[in-house]
Every structure is written in C-alpha cells, then in structure tokens.
C-alpha cells in the first residue's frame, strides 16, 4: 500500500469535512449546488444549509439531478491549497451499502475545475445514470493552480495520488478498487492522467487521454511504464483528439506507441479543435466510456 502522509492540517480538514459529507444526503433537491471554488475558504460549508419546505417530509423525493460542490484541501506536498470539485450523483446517499465508483478528471492549461461545468458535466453524468443504466458514480475534479509550471519536480500529481485520493476514500463511500477508479483529462490534464495512470497501474483501472500532448520525456517512459504492468492488469485506455487540433501529432505519437507496444486501447479522431466546444461535444462519449464497466445489474 501507498503511504498516506497526513499531517495535522489535513487531519483538521478531515474533521471538518466529515459532518459535511454525513449531511450531504440531506441536501434539498431544490438547491443548485454549483459553485466556483474560492481560494481559501471551504466553500462547501455555505451550501449545506436551509432545507426548503418541500424537502421536509417527502420521503420519496431524492434529487433528479446531481450536484457539484467545491472543496479545499491543505496540501503539504504542494505547500498550498488543493481545490477540487466533486460531482455527486442524483439521490446521492452517504450511507450507501454499494460504494460509488469514481472518475478523476483533470482540466487543461489556463483552466480550472469550472471548465467541467462549462462543458456540461452535470447533465452528461446525470443522463448516464438516469437513462443509461450506469451505477451512480462520483467525479472528482481537482484544480491545478500552477498550470504553467514545468512538469518536472511538480507535485501536483503526487498531491492527487497521496493526498486527495486517500482523503476522498476515507471520507466518502467510494469503492477503493482499481476497477472503480478511472482517471482522465484534457490537454495538460490528460498528460497528467497518462503519467498518473501508467506509473500507478495498481491504482487506476481506466485512463482517458483527451487532446493530449505528452509531457517531455513521457513518450520515452511509456515502454518502461507499460512493461511493468501485467498484461491482465493493463488499464482500459481511450485516446482522442480533434482532427484540426494542433496537438494531433503528439496525441497520435502516444497512440502509435501503444500500438507498437501491443497495448489494447481505443483511438478516436473526431472532427473538432482544441477547445471547449470540442470537449463539450465529446464529453458524453468520454463519460459513457469511463462508466462502461459500471452498469447496473439489469435484473
């Protein structure tokens, strides 16, 4: 097992988060829980309040749409705050006996977690759960505040793996198996996802690399990363890029390396560019793919 280096600050964070999560199931259906992360104050605290009248006493009611809430985590590895959003599915139940699978989605350069809302993640995720037989799932969307920093000696991926992930798993009713954990991202976020998923194959069961150029050097690392993974444990891999995206060549270099190494995967060249229009168009397909192994039993 990986170590979970919590210090006092993160511990405090847990203490305050716990009641938040416990209560979340009580959140009223009327509330719109979409909020932009603020730098320091745990914004989640604001929105848990005030049940509305129609929430009281209507047992059958649970939200027909999911909610997105923002949180902050004091990260030692970053020596800074790590903000993140969480998508909670319709009828989210903090006391569920069937733990939720979850997707980590990483935004691109010059973006933050709000990009996922901009491109319609809540409606797309809701639709899969309500209309396409997916088990309810969570989506965690961290913010890379210093997206302009070099990828070398960058602790963002470490913070995700060693701080965010254990924090999520010890505070939320999520399934802590690799088959239940998917990771993906767009552009720079996709490059992080590749590095995280392939160098930690025992953690993630699926990898989505959307519109990526890899970080310098990572193409050369692929053979080592991939040869360390037992064939049966290779993560599911999805790579795609827009046909007029300047990153086509780099995205394709990644994909061709997978071919050369004999690694099962899928590759989609779609019409489109390197922008939120493209990702908004593709998002339903991305989410459908991540959640494909998480079907409700039909019986």
């Amino acid at each position: 097992m990986r170590s979970h280096p919590f210090n006092r600050t993160t511990h405090h964070f847990f203490l305050f988060l716990m009641p938040v999560f416990l209560l979340m199931g009580c959140a009223s259906p009327a509330q719109t829980a979409v909020q932009t992360p603020t730098e320091e104050l745990p914004t989640s605290t604001v929105q848990l309040a005030t049940p509305t009248e129609d929430a009281a006493g209507t047992q059958h009611l649970c939200e027909r749409s999911g909610t997105i809430q923002s949180f902050n985590l004091a990260s030692d590895l970053l020596n800074d705050t790590l903000s993140f959003d969480i998508y909670f599915p319709p009828c989210y139940d903090p006391h569920t006996t069937t733990p939720y699978p979850l997707i980590y989605l990483l935004h691109g350069q010059e973006q933050d977690a709000s990009m996922w809302q901009d491109i319609g993640i809540q409606a797309a995720a809701d639709a899969l759960i309500l209309e396409q037989s997916r088990q309810p799932f969570l989506i965690v969307m961290p913010v890379e505040q210093y997206y302009f920093r070099s990828s070398e000696n960058n602790h963002y991926p470490d913070a995700i793996l060693q701080e965010l992930l254990p924090m999520i798993e010890s505070n939320l009713p999520v399934c802590a198996e690799r088959e239940c954990r998917a990771i993906g991202g767009v552009s720079r976020g996709g490059a992080w996802a590749v590095r995280l998923a392939l160098s930690n194959w025992d953690v993630f069961g699926a990898l989505g690399a959307h519109s990526i150029p890899l970080f310098n050097g990572d193409l050369d690392s692929l053979p080592d990363w991939l040869s360390a993974i037992p064939l049966a444990d290779l993560p599911r891999i999805y790579a795609d890029v827009g046909s007029t995206d300047p990153a086509v060549k780099e995205a394709y270099a990644f994909e061709q390396e997978l071919n050369a190494l004999g690694v099962p995967h899928e590759w989609h060249l779609n019409s489109g560019r390197h922008n939120e229009t493209y990702w908004a168009e593709q998002l339903p397909a991305y989410l459908a793919w991540y959640t494909l192994p998480w079907m409700e039993d039909s019986n």
Binding site: P42, D54, A56, Q59, C91, H95, G262
Partner: protein
C-alpha cells in the same frame, strides 16, 4: 492569509449549518438508485421500440436466402438476409440496413455463426437499438484478385438497389452501413470510401487491407466532401498478424485527418475474437439510427 483561521471558521459554519439542516427530511434515507417521483417533470424519455408492431410476440427474427444475377459479376451472388425480431414488411417503419461481409475462406453463414442475428434480436427486444436488417452476401471467389473481382462494386451498385426494391428499407446513405471482417473488412473499407454516397458507416473488423489501398485511399478521401465523410470504425486484435497492415491503413486516416475510431483489443484473428465483439459492432452501427427508435 492564515489558512488555519479560515478552516476554523469553516468548521463553525459547518457545525452551524448542520444544526439547522440536520437531516430534516427522511430523504436522507434515499437509496442510491434514482427513484421516480411525482414532483419531477423531466423524466427521461424511455426508448420504446415503436418500429416493432404492437402485439408482436416473437423472440427472434428469421433468414431469407436469395440469389441474384448482377451485371457486374459473371456468376450469381448468393446472400442471406436477416429480418430481425418482429420484422414487419407492411408497416410504415423503414429499416436501416447493415451489409455485413465475411472473411476469406468463409461464407455468408459466418456472421450467423458468430451470433450477429441473436445479438441483434436481444438488443432490439431490450429497446437498446432500432431494428435493422442485416444483409450477408457471399463472396464465392474469395481467392480472386481484388482488382479483378467485381464483388465490391456489385454490392455497392447493384445489391443495395435490389435490397431497397425488395425490402422496406430506408434508402438513404445514413441508413446504410457496410462492415466486414478480415478480407470482408477490406471490401467494406474500400467500397465504403469509394461509394461514400451509398454508405453512411464503415466498420472494419480485424482489417486485412488490400495492399494497393494504402496508396489509393488518399485519392478516395479527396473525393468526399468533409461533411459527408462516413463514420469509420477499425478494430484489430493485439496479436493479429494483420495489426501492422491495419495500422498502416489507419495511419492514412489520421494523416489525412479523416475522423474515425480505432480499437485494439486483446485477442487474435479468429472467431472467438469476433464473437466476443459482435455486440459492440452492432451497437456501433446502430448508433447512427438512434433517432429512429423514438418516432
């Protein structure tokens, strides 16, 4: 700014808010499965397979065996036509058609043996795909030189017309898909690109491309208006001896920025592989016909 102070403020806020909100509603006991509720208006549309006639009790469709004389080929073209569960020749529904081609050394029974018919019926009955017809032609001279053979042109130019005349089809390119495995995939790719006005989707399963097509393909691409490009799917087993050749073809698609998808699965070039993926194939073809389920 002092983070710790903020966190303390946060804790207080949480405690306060929790005091107020303390599970006022029994909804907290809601299960994780979405439940329909009277107060909610936007219920998801349940796909109904209206194209199947009301009251149809069938559990499976049936094959019809045909033989037609084309002008392009010297010998008759044999084929089997799968008419899916609850097929209704007299209804208003116009069926999309998948032309599904077998591989070298096989015949028109191959997709039947691989379970395409049963799988299609199951998906239709579950309301997951719109009903469509599968035409499985037989390439009897499958060893013939692929430039001398008129099999591909006969399918695109003559068989499609004959099918549209004899069955209640939707005679539009969007409603026609061509797909195949191995050599059949090579035919599907070539005919689908050359006859882009006839087919809206091309599925190439375990593609064993015709050699000359690597260099021909860019000329075919040039003829197709960008907004008319067919949907293209290629898949290959990771241990398939054709992987390199298939990839060489796929490189052309990416190089010329032709949208497509490419799937590498575990497996090799055999019927176990195709059987394992036939459902995925059918779902992919049917994706283009989703709207037909609703009307």
């Amino acid at each position: 700014m002092d983070r710790k102070n903020n966190i303390n403020v946060g804790i207080i806020l949480v405690l306060l808010s929790s005091a107020f909100s303390a599970c006022a509603s029994p909804a907290a006991a809601a299960t994780a499965t979405p439940q329909p509720s009277a107060t909610v208006t936007a219920t998801p549309e349940v796909p109904t397979a209206t194209p199947t006639p009301a009251g149809c009790q069938e559990m499976q469709g049936h094959f019809e065996y045909q033989e037609i004389q084309t002008t392009l080929m010297t010998h008759p073209l044999s084929l089997r036509v799968y008419l899916p569960v609850c097929y209704d020749p007299d209804g208003e529904y116009e069926y999309p058609v998948l032309y599904f081609l077998h591989g070298q050394s096989f015949t028109d029974d191959q997709w039947d043996r691989l379970g395409a018919d049963e799988t299609l019926d199951r998906l239709i009955l579950a309301g997951e795909v719109a009903p469509f017809i599968i035409v499985m032609p037989k390439e009897s001279d499958y060893m013939s030189n692929q430039w001398d053979s008129k099999y591909g042109p006969a399918l695109a130019e003559e068989l499609t017309v004959w099918i549209d005349e004899h069955y209640p089809t939707c005679a539009d390119r969007i409603c026609r898909a061509i797909g195949g495995l191995s050599r059949g995939a090579a035919w599907a790719m070539r005919s689908g690109l050359i006859y882009w006005e006839t087919f809206g989707s091309i599925g190439a399963h375990s593609l064993a491309p015709f050699r000359g097509d690597f260099n021909e393909a860019p000329f075919w691409f040039k003829e197709i208006p960008e907004e008319q490009l067919p949907r293209i799917w290629i898949d290959v087993g990771v241990l398939d001896v054709n992987l390199d050749a298939a990839n060489t073809f796929e490189v052309r698609l990416t190089k010329y920025r032709i949208p497509h998808e490419w799937h590498i699965y575990l497996g090799t070039h055999n019927e176990d592989y195709w059987q394992a993926h036939v459902e995925e194939y059918l779902r992919w073809y049917a994706e283009n016909w989703k709207e037909r389920m609703k009307s």
